[in-house]
């Protein structure tokens, strides 16, 4: 996030796109709702009419995967009507001409067809968001989990630069992170192209810096593989040993049949986790790890705040902290790593090597933590980025984006769109929440959420078991007929193994980030009335 959660309550206007905040980021949504009760304005752009839409002055039900067309058309109107922030564009950005050239083709009428809303509504959105300054834009995985995810993200940044909503309090582009420490794992360099602190592995000077710090030579210069490439490498034999730490890939990756084939192909698979799960079935070695409250350490939240994690009780049996396990493996390769606690790792290595984190030391994290960038020990941390329009690389660059449809679109055989996400009560594959007393009682099974119109057309009753099938698999699941879902859509989560949406999802990826298109694939739904079809499932 460029900005912070504590700005939500003071914000004057929000545009929330592709974010079911009340379920995926419940506490963040409470601050948005507080602001709305105090008079802030809210526009929700989402195919589903989720709970937050009840608080919005306008719900814009665009079709799944039409975000770029929608945002481009809004920018088209802003430019055509002169409703954008010319001063900010002139003084703080470059390549406005390129943006203007691209969005000129996205007339509201043209985009209306793609987005499934009226041109009038697009103009209306443009008018509303240009009338209030600043406006805070929030998004979640509805923007990123598409084959065009990277371009979706660029489009949100284009919009906010065009409106001059960058570098100001209560403005900015604010992706809410799905998992608690996605931000941190990125910051730490658990990515194939960067060292900790986003320092490129391809840069010779940076490699030398890390070689000196780690006392090694020959750090590799070429970018490594991303997860989908690793998985395919397991089948091709390019990747022979695979180490999975804490991710239940067999349930969370798209197209479970494909993923399980890939995992089964691994020549040597190490899984380090706190429970046996669907992924450990394929392991050769399973290493037991200490969990959340059995460890000291730090998490970094969506607003770049580094906060302490503290030990409440010891790990069971012989389970060990993850950092210790990695240290012990290094030792067997002849590397003696001296840091012997999370605190030593952070204070002596992480915060020395990552420029954004230099000022963050454990002794400064006792209270509310610190938000990076925090370059030195007297720095108070940074609530919002690009203050006064000063971008990291000087000027903000407009990067126009073209709309492309999802990799798989509905057709006669698979006429509906399946979109996936999270539900409030559970988390991911429930390895944790499923083992907490009470939570399964509140939400005990998966459902396929469908619209009343589709239910009527297929004569499906609320609560009836149905079949959902895609080109990759099929599942049997209870139908949940709800107004929240538009006609033509099936919406599911991936919390339960049996009716996991990932039996159906499409392993198509964004070409840059390799994020999978969890938000759109084509499916068919059927009644399970005839016994023959019952037997097949």
């Amino acid at each position: 996030m460029t900005n912070s959660f504590n700005e939500f309550a003071r914000a004057k206007m929000f545009l929330v796109i592709g974010s079911n905040m009340t379920e995926a980021h419940p506490v963040a949504s409470t601050f948005v709702k507080n602001a709305v009760l105090k008079g802030a304005r809210l526009i929700v752009v989402d195919p589903r009419r989720h709970k937050l839409a009840d608080f919005a002055e306008l719900h814009v039900p665009i079709r799944v995967g039409s975000d770029i067309a929608f945002l481009n058309a809004v920018m088209h109107v802003l430019i055509a009507e002169g409703w954008y922030d010319k001063k900010f564009v002139d003084s703080c950005t470059v390549d406005f001409d390129k943006l203007a050239a691209t969005v000129m083709r996205y007339t509201p009428e043209y985009a209306a067809d793609i987005c499934g809303i009226s041109a009038v509504m697009i103009r209306d959105v443009a008018r509303r968001i240009s009338s209030v300054h600043p406006m805070m834009l929030c998004y979640t995985l509805g923007i990123t989990e598409h084959t065009c995810g990277t371009r979706n993200v660029m489009s949100t940044a284009n919009l906010q630069m065009l409106l001059g909503n960058m570098g100001v309090e209560c403005g900015g582009v604010n992706p809410l992170r799905g998992q608690n420490n996605v931000q941190g794992a990125c910051d730490m360099g658990a990515l194939p192209n960067v060292f900790p602190g986003y320092q490129k592995v391809g840069d010779l000077a940076l490699r030398s810096k890390f070689e000196r710090a780690w006392g090694v030579d020959g750090l590799p210069a070429h970018n490594g593989l991303m997860i989908p490439q690793m998985m395919e490498g397991l089948v091709s034999g390019q990747v022979r040993a695979f180490y999975i730490f804490g991710e239940n890939l067999a349930n969370t990756e798209p197209d479970i049949h494909k993923v399980e084939h890939e995992l089964a192909s691994a020549e040597f698979l190490v899984v380090q986790d706190i429970f046996l799960n669907e992924t450990t079935r394929f392991a050769h070695v399973i290493l037991p790890a200490a969990a959340w409250s059995e460890n000291d350490g730090t998490f970094t939240n969506s607003e770049r705040r580094v906060s302490r994690v503290r030990t409440a009780s010891p790990a069971p049996g012989e389970a060990k902290p993850n950092w210790w396990i990695f240290q012990q493996i290094a030792k067997r390769f002849g590397h003696e790593w001296t840091a012997n606690s999370a605190r030593e790792i952070w204070d002596n290595e992480v915060s020395v090597l990552a420029p954004q984190l230099c000022g963050i030391k454990y002794h400064r994290l006792e209270g509310d933590g610190l938000q990076w960038p925090c370059p030195d020990e007297n720095h108070p941390g940074t609530c919002f980025l690009h203050r006064d329009g000063h971008f990291t690389c000087g000027l903000g660059i407009f990067t126009p984006a073209e709309w492309t449809p999802p990799a798989e679109v509905p057709d006669d055989t698979y006429p509906l769109v399946l979109s996936t996400g999270r539900r409030l009560t559970h988390y991911h594959t429930r390895t944790q929440t499923g083992r907490c007393e009470g939570l399964n009682d509140i939400l005990g099974e998966e459902t396929a959420d469908i619209s009343p119109a589709d239910a009527r057309a297929l004569n499906i009753a609320h609560g009836e078991m149905i079949r959902v099938a895609s080109r990759r698999g099929e599942i049997k699941v209870k139908a949940n007929v709800t107004d929240m879902v538009p006609k033509g859509m099936v919406w599911m989560a991936f919390h339960f193994r049996e009716a996991n949406a990932n039996w159906l999802t499409n392993a198509a990826f964004d070409e840059i980030t390799m994020t999978a298109e969890y938000k759109a694939c084509a499916v068919r739904i059927e009644k399970l009335t005839d016994p023959a079809s019952m037997a097949r499932v």
Partner: protein, 376 residues
């Protein structure tokens, strides 16, 4: 804004226009008891425990909802104020199952009274929040005796129907804090005041069980309840405040990163609350942050390293398991080069774990094949 002057308990106190007597007093470090007042929400004046004496005023105004005024002279603990507070507390105590304060009860029949209450509670235990109850604290502070008014259990049975929150109407003092918490803080709009007079009750829409209402089990109302009318089912009769230490930590679920207080008793987390006033959540949590902590004590936890043997796994020592991992990785790297190994780190675990893992892959294995599920 220019500050103005008033007198509290004979001291000159500065306040900003718009502040209430309560806010002015708190800013000056002067304590006034409150029960229904919930910071950041509209004052309701429901409980009247915060009454103070204002020179020249005929009645005792409530400090939480009365604006401070220049020249106002306030007494926060005058005999009249104390008398009023005692009466309020006595009425509250006798309105339900409040066995805690029965010590020094009017008839001196402490044990009998307590046992009676415990029986009707069906638990044979003390009130689940004994020692962490604002009403109990105030009853002791103001030396309130019960017994003058007839105690009764109230017209409504406990609601045990949902797995997470126990609603014990017999202990509810109708202060309305839960209603404020639900409607103004979390804005879930699940509960409100229902019925009238002696039948007053906090109800979820249509007086249904919470599980059938708009309730999302965020736990905000429990945290707001000053008494034992709303308690965590999982913590009830297990958690005792005087046996607990608290540990501040960060929620392990979503990217908001809420600050939690773990209440640890006998080496186990007994309950979780939000850290009041903390960034980023200001004391708020959701159902996961509040209730999804006990997975760590599951019987299913992995306790020893496991090594595959045929179709099954056998237990192994750390040395054996780590030696095996190291030797297989060495062999494969020697035969096929460092890029024949790859790793996926965990976006749930602490920063230091991800740092160590990428360091292992880069500096030891010499590959950049390290990634994590950044995108889900």
């Amino acid at each position: 804004m220019t500050q103005q002057k008033m007198m509290i308990n004979g001291h000159e106190v500065l306040f900003s226009p718009g502040q209430t007597i309560l806010e002015a007093a708190e800013a000056a470090g002067i304590w006034i008891p409150t029960l229904c007042h919930l910071k950041g929400t509209t004052p309701t004046g429901a409980c009247r425990i915060c009454v103070v004496e204002v020179a020249g005023a005929r009645t005792l105004p409530t400090a939480c909802s009365t604006p401070a005024a220049p020249g106002m002279a306030v007494q926060t603990e005058s005999p009249r104020v104390i008398e009023a507070r005692r009466l309020i507390l006595e009425l509250m105590l006798s309105s339900g199952n409040h066995n805690c304060a029965a010590l020094n009860g009017g008839d001196g029949d402490w044990t009998g009274f307590q046992l009676g209450v415990q029986d009707s509670d069906g638990s044979g235990e003390l009130c689940p929040v004994w020692g962490d109850c604002k009403l109990q604290d105030l009853a002791f502070r103001y030396q309130v005796k019960v017994g003058r008014f007839q105690s009764h259990e109230g017209p409504y049975p406990q609601e045990l129907a949902n797995p997470l929150i126990v609603r014990d109407f017999s202990r509810c003092i109708l202060c309305g804090r839960c209603v404020q918490a639900c409607n103004e803080v979390q804005v879930n709009r699940a509960i409100s005041f229902g019925y009238r007079g002696a039948l007053s009750k906090i109800v979820a829409a249509g007086d249904r069980p919470l599980a059938d209402s708009e309730c999302v089990f965020c736990g905000e109302c429990i945290q707001a309840c000053p008494v034992g009318a709303l308690v965590e089912k999982k913590a009830r009769y297990r958690w005792r405040p005087w046996e607990t230490t608290t540990v501040r930590t960060t929620c392990p679920y979503c990217g908001v990163g809420c600050q939690q207080l773990l209440h640890v008793q006998d080496g186990r987390i007994a309950k979780v609350t939000g850290v009041e006033g903390a960034e980023p959540n200001q004391g708020r949590l959701c159902v996961k942050g509040c209730f999804a902590y006990d997975f760590i004590y599951s019987e299913d936890r992995l306790r020893t390293p496991l090594i595959r043997e045929g179709g099954d796994f056998r237990e192994a020592s750390w040395d054996e398991a780590l030696d095996l991992v190291a030797s297989r990785f060495k062999e494969i790297i020697a035969a096929s080069g460092p890029d024949a190994v790859a790793g996926v780190s965990c976006a749930r675990s602490i920063n230091e774990d991800s740092y160590q893992m990428q360091k292992l892959f880069r500096s030891v294995f010499k590959t950049n094949n390290i990634d994590h599920c950044a995108r889900t």
